[in-house]
Symmetry: C2
């Protein structure tokens, strides 16, 4: 494949990666079908796993009742000090909870990152969006859903139809990476430059 | 979007995830341009990062000389006891070394999994393929490339034009997840079923 053709083909995945932002406000009345959550987990299932151990398990919810049990155990957007999370009506329509099965291995490496990225790219392709949440009240969530101790709670993926605009900007000279919102509620995410993250390039 | 339409749109990402296997034998004479490695890192740059800290840095190589310094520090396919890694001529044409910058944070969460999946999906889209290698002689690699102590070596992504066939199969009743090769050299990867990895589904 020519270099030109290669660069052309990057367009699909590049567009998907670019559109796949962390969304925290949703059209809560836009339901997610269970079948869609299953398809998303299937993308994770077919993704790579350290030593092919596949230690991840999943809990899915698109039920209003269960969503209401999950939501209070999540922390939202730590840098937005005057915003404690999405209001009723703007909350996620579904969740995928990513668990590590300690009977398979005690060390999950970065398997949950691989899985979460596959799931969110798939969600983006269907017009959904979401957020990987690592700041979770694990004791509370375990109790609420009666998750056996055997499973470590690794990540909660919140999913829904995005109801906010998220804009990538360059990190400024002060190096501040904290995301922020303007007065219109638009969400800005500073990203480091390509030059600043490539340490060496041998060609 | 209708459920039918949603399922239709999954086809692109599903096809990409399915084709993105771990490849360990390559057409070493098919060079990778530095520009392609940079485009791949750009996909990682635009991907999610815990608390948007973006602690990952990258070393890129598409130079035969540097590739030869990296290669001896990698372990290949732990389950294939009679195969110590790709022969000369079948080795990767390029590498992306994923580092964690300890001056940004001490804890990289699963950021390297997110980044690695974006990179490998991008590589797959261009007809390349690769392997995430976590089993690395970190002391040796650090010495070989003079990587400062400030950077933790998280993963090495080996990249090239795949020269092997990789087939997904179902995990058998014995639960064995070890990948294996048949006498023709085809590589088989047992994957757990969707049913076995979904613990609960609330709808």
């Amino acid at each position: 494949m020519s270099l030109h053709r290669m660069k052309e083909t990057f367009k699909v995945i590049r567009d998907l990666v670019r559109r796949n932002r962390s969304y925290r406000r949703f059209r809560e009345d836009a339901a997610i079908e269970m079948e869609i959550l299953e398809e998303l987990v299937d993308l994770a299932r077919l993704s790579g796993s350290g030593a092919n151990r596949q230690p991840l398990k999943y809990i899915l919810s698109c039920s209003g009742e269960t969503n209401a049990l999950i939501f209070p155990n999540l922390s939202w957007a730590g840098y937005l000090k005057d915003w404690s999370g999405p209001d009723e009506g703007e909350r996620p329509s579904g969740y995928i909870i990513v668990l590590g099965d300690t009977e398979v291995t005690q060390s999950f490496g970065c398997d949950h990152g691989i899985a979460a990225q596959s799931i969110l790219l798939g969600a983006t392709e269907t017009g959904l969006g979401g957020c990987m949440i690592g700041s979770v009240n694990r004791v509370g969530l375990r109790q609420a859903l009666e998750i056996p101790d055997r499973y470590e709670i690794l990540l909660v993926l919140a999913l829904g139809t995005p109801k906010e605009e998220v804009i990538i900007e360059a990190v400024g000279p002060d190096g501040d990476i904290k995301y922020w919102r303007d007065s219109a509620g638009k969400h800005y995410v500073p990203k480091r430059s390509l030059e600043s993250i490539i340490l060496d390039a041998y060609e």
